[in-house]
């Protein structure tokens, strides 16, 4: 995304010490970095970030500076390495926090306390600190120490149960879903707390449980149980309130989706397929009765789609105002004219990975625009600059820490 140098950035002047790792925490901090905060991602080669060891790697060559998985979550950040297991490393981190406004972390609960770096300790060096902890299940409770990734948290938080066909297994979303859901929940609280601090000068601590955030994305499922005593179930591509509603395979093997909630959309759909006789049957004329005929409707659409490419089917629907689309592959997403127009995939030059694409926020701010401004940092790329520049460390002390392994 093009950034306009004359426009202010929302978080200009805000400094963040980002101790988080893997998916959720770094994505929360990415929001701040992409909108102008100076985010210092603290890592250590002695406890290598999981995603630096996970592909895709450029040239398919595994190396901790070549991971696209890591890079995407860490745009616009600086990279510093500190070994927090050393006494001097802990002191150094406190010096960094003393000049930071925000600390983000996603370790297993208790890890930072063991290091003497929990909120109670850190607020002593920075009383107005805003700190967010964001492990899977929160700081307390019998599951507080449970391990896992987004791919299994989606199971605990209901997404598997609600994804798949009624007669099939709870397949889940195909991605580590909550890793791409709960960062937005976490960022909402963090930025709200920062806005409160902007107006009152008061910092605070946020105990964020990914699990508890994810439950808010289950639509009406919780109330269906607590108020109606009925369990929401996975319905394949059906929707209880639309007919037709589904994904249909076309001649070229690609799929179109079609959704008709209103009579107007149904009329558009009829026009799109040439108003065949079956659409005029009595039982097809009203939505409430169409809802009982979904099997038959789907069979007709399957036949219709089989004779057309996805592009042809989609065009017919689109031209008649039917909510519809193509199930886009990653390749098609990169070529999508709408996303291109929006500049969704920012291209940034990385020292070892070259020009690579990064996800942008789903929103554009008209007056204080954000977006990825710099490729992800190499491991420890900015250690010297931050320690000497931001902390004013002398050459001698820096060399001493380096030699002692504090900066590994």
């Amino acid at each position: 995304m093009a950034s306009n140098g004359s426009k202010p950035k929302p978080f200009e002047g805000l400094r963040v010490t980002d101790l988080s790792w893997v998916g959720v925490g770094p994505t929360v901090a990415k929001y701040l970095a992409d909108h102008g905060a100076e985010v210092i991602r603290v890592e250590s080669a002695t406890r290598m970030e999981t995603l630096r060891r996970a592909g895709p790697f450029t040239d398919d060559e595994p190396h901790y500076d070549n991971s696209g998985y890591f890079a995407n979550f860490n745009s616009s950040k600086l990279g510093v390495t500190i070994n927090l297991k050393t006494a001097k490393g802990k002191e150094l981190l406190k010096r960094l926090v003393a000049v930071s406004d925000v600390v983000t972390e996603s370790f297993t609960p208790g890890s930072l306390k063991k290091l003497g770096l929990d909120y109670e300790e850190l607020r002593k060096v920075r009383p107005d600190l805003v700190m967010i902890s964001m492990p899977l299940f929160g700081q307390t409770g019998p599951w507080a120490h449970y391990m896992g990734y987004g791919h299994v948290l989606q199971a605990a938080s209901g997404f598997n149960h609600l994804t798949g066909w009624p007669d099939g297994e709870p397949i889940g979303t195909g991605v580590a879903y909550t890793d791409f859901l709960v960062p937005h929940v976490g960022a909402l609280a963090l930025v709200a707390a920062l806005d409160y601090r902007r107006r009152t000068g008061k910092g605070q601590y946020i105990d964020f449980s990914q699990f508890e955030g994810a439950v808010h994305a289950l639509g009406t499922s919780i109330l269906e149980w607590t108020a109606n005593g009925r369990e929401a179930e996975r319905l394949g591509n059906r929707d209880p309130e639309a007919a037709p509603h589904g994904a249909y395979r076309c001649k070229d093997g690609r799929y179109v989706v079609i959704a008709c909630f209103t009579e107007q959309e149904w009329e558009g759909f009829r026009a799109a397929i040439g108003r065949p006789d079956w659409t005029d049957l009595e039982r097809m004329r009203r939505k409430w009765s169409r809802l009982n005929e979904q099997k038959e409707i789907d069979r007709h659409i399957d036949f219709w789609c089989r004779e057309r490419t996805a592009a042809q089917a989609y065009k017919a629907m689109r031209d008649n105002g039917v909510p519809s689309g193509i199930v886009k592959s990653p390749e098609e997403m990169h070529r999508d004219p709408q996303l291109k127009h929006r500049g969704h995939y920012a291209v940034l030059e990385h020292p070892t990975m070259g020009a690579r694409t990064y996800d942008s926020p789903a929103f554009r701010l008209s007056k204080t625009p954000g977006g990825p401004s710099k490729a992800a940092p190499l491991l420890g790329e900015d250690t010297e600059r931050v320690l000497k520049g931001t902390l004013g460390m002398s050459d001698d002390e820096f060399t001493e820490l380096l030699v002692e392994g504090v900066l590994e």
Partner: protein, 426 residues
């Protein structure tokens, strides 16, 4: 707000956004966003036509009885807001709406680009009505670009946002999550955009701005690493959802059937990688490790590396056998005790009955005094030490707060309000 006999919404003076006012004219793409702002302290005013908001007709309904006050969708997405009616197609209604906007810190709207001009709610017009307000526009594809005016619903967002491609099954094709996720995603990401723009008023001389949010882009951000995998390796990650294809490599299945449901156990349940020793020991203790106790298996599995197809089949078979005879909570508890990150596949009921959420005092009892019942709602997504989250009570009835909003908040006198009623504006 002391003249509210039923106390709905509950006051929330201690939230991080307390003192802000938000005007909500959003549909499915923005109502959850506005609700979360209310739970963070904002006074959220839902503006509806006199007949009630269209989404009040969204099911399911309480006890399956359709009605404009019984939609569980409405309850879930609009809890804790105030409701006023305002007929924006009338000129007097537009004037009234603009008075609400003039006193707002944020407006959440979801009209198609250009479509709200005739009701006076075009985002550009609203920015002029109140330059200090943040105007959040949530649309299918964004305000600009060739697709900006195309119709879409949740499944279209999932398809055109690249998410559905990564899911489904080889035989039956792609599948969406039945609880609408394109809607959930765009609501949550819009909420982040809203608070960033509120924060930016500090850097921008107190001025608000337009926040242009795209549902397609919100789903594109949920593609795991498929975006980068295409960019770097020119490989399309894809389904099936029961496996895990990531970084261009197909993984083995990660869900296994237990005696009473399913468990999620990534990476062959930890049989491959640093936890493989612990897993083999566990299987060995119950006599179900098969050949895996042999030193060459222990060595082979300790390092994450591609497995031959027959090796994978053997391991999946062992896992399937092992899980099938045990309860899912027992499996997960024991796996976690051994340092392996499994989780149970929970249904909504099991989530409500979860020990973890009970121990965290998660659930909230929400009183519906109008029907004499109390229901359990999801609780705090975060525990903020200084400015707590708060559930603000049930969703409002149509126009429930007309008198207090138009009278107290806007300061109209009784005659003016009576006139608005007579002319069918409210």
């Amino acid at each position: 707000m002391t003249d509210r006999p039923d106390g709905v919404p509950l006051p929330h003076p201690d939230g991080p956004l307390s003192g802000y006012r938000v005007v909500d004219i959003a549909d499915e793409k923005g109502q959850l966003c506005a609700r979360l702002l209310a739970e963070l302290g904002a006074d959220v005013i839902k503006v509806e036509p006199r007949a009630g908001d269209r989404t009040r007709a969204n099911g399911p309904f309480f006890r399956d009885e359709e009605g404009r006050e019984s939609s569980l969708y409405w309850w879930a997405m609009n809890a804790g807001k105030r409701s006023v009616t305002c007929e924006m197609r009338l000129e007097a209604g537009r004037d009234l709406f603009h008075r609400l906007v003039a006193g707002a810190d944020a407006v959440i709207e979801t009209s198609a680009p250009g479509a709200a001009k005739d009701i006076g709610a075009d985002p550009r017009a609203l920015v002029k009505v109140n330059p200090e307000a943040v105007v959040v526009s949530i649309t299918n594809f964004g305000q600009t670009g060739p697709a900006r005016n195309l119709p879409a619903t949740d499944i279209v967002g999932s398809a055109m946002g690249g998410h559905m491609y990564l899911n489904g099954s080889d035989e039956r094709g792609p599948v969406r999550t039945t609880a609408p996720q394109a809607y959930a995603q765009v609501n949550l990401q819009a909420a982040v955009g809203a608070v960033i723009a509120l924060y930016a008023r500090g850097a921008n001389g107190g001025l608000g701005q337009h926040v242009d949010v795209s549902m397609q882009e919100s789903m594109a951000n949920a593609m795991d690493n498929a975006q980068q995998t295409w960019d770097i390796l020119q490989i399309n990650n894809r389904g099936p959802g029961s496996g895990r294809m990531v970084s261009g490599r197909e993984g083995p299945r990660y869900i296994y059937e237990a005696a009473d449901g399913w468990v999620a156990a990534l990476g062959l349940g930890g049989l491959v990688g640093p936890t493989s020793g612990a897993m083999i020991d566990w299987l060995d203790q119950t006599g179900e490790a098969g050949p895996l106790t042999a030193p060459h298996w222990r060595e082979r599995l300790e390092v994450v590396q591609p497995l031959e197809e027959d090796e994978q089949e053997l391991l999946v078979g062992i896992m399937e056998q092992f899980c099938r005879t045990r309860r899912k909570d027992d499996l997960v508890h024991e796996a976690q005790a051994r340092g392996v990150g499994w989780a149970p596949v929970y249904s909504p009921r099991e989530i409500v009955e979860s020990d973890q959420l009970a121990a965290r005092d998660y659930w909230v009892q929400v009183r519906h005094e109008d029907i004499g019942e109390t229901f359990v709602y999801p609780g705090a997504p975060w525990k903020l030490s200084g400015t707590p989250w708060k559930q603000r009570g049930r969703a409002p009835h149509v126009g429930e707060h007309n008198a207090e909003v138009y009278g107290h908040t806007l300061g109209l006198d009784a005659d003016e309000i009576a006139k608005l009623r007579r002319s069918m504006v409210i």
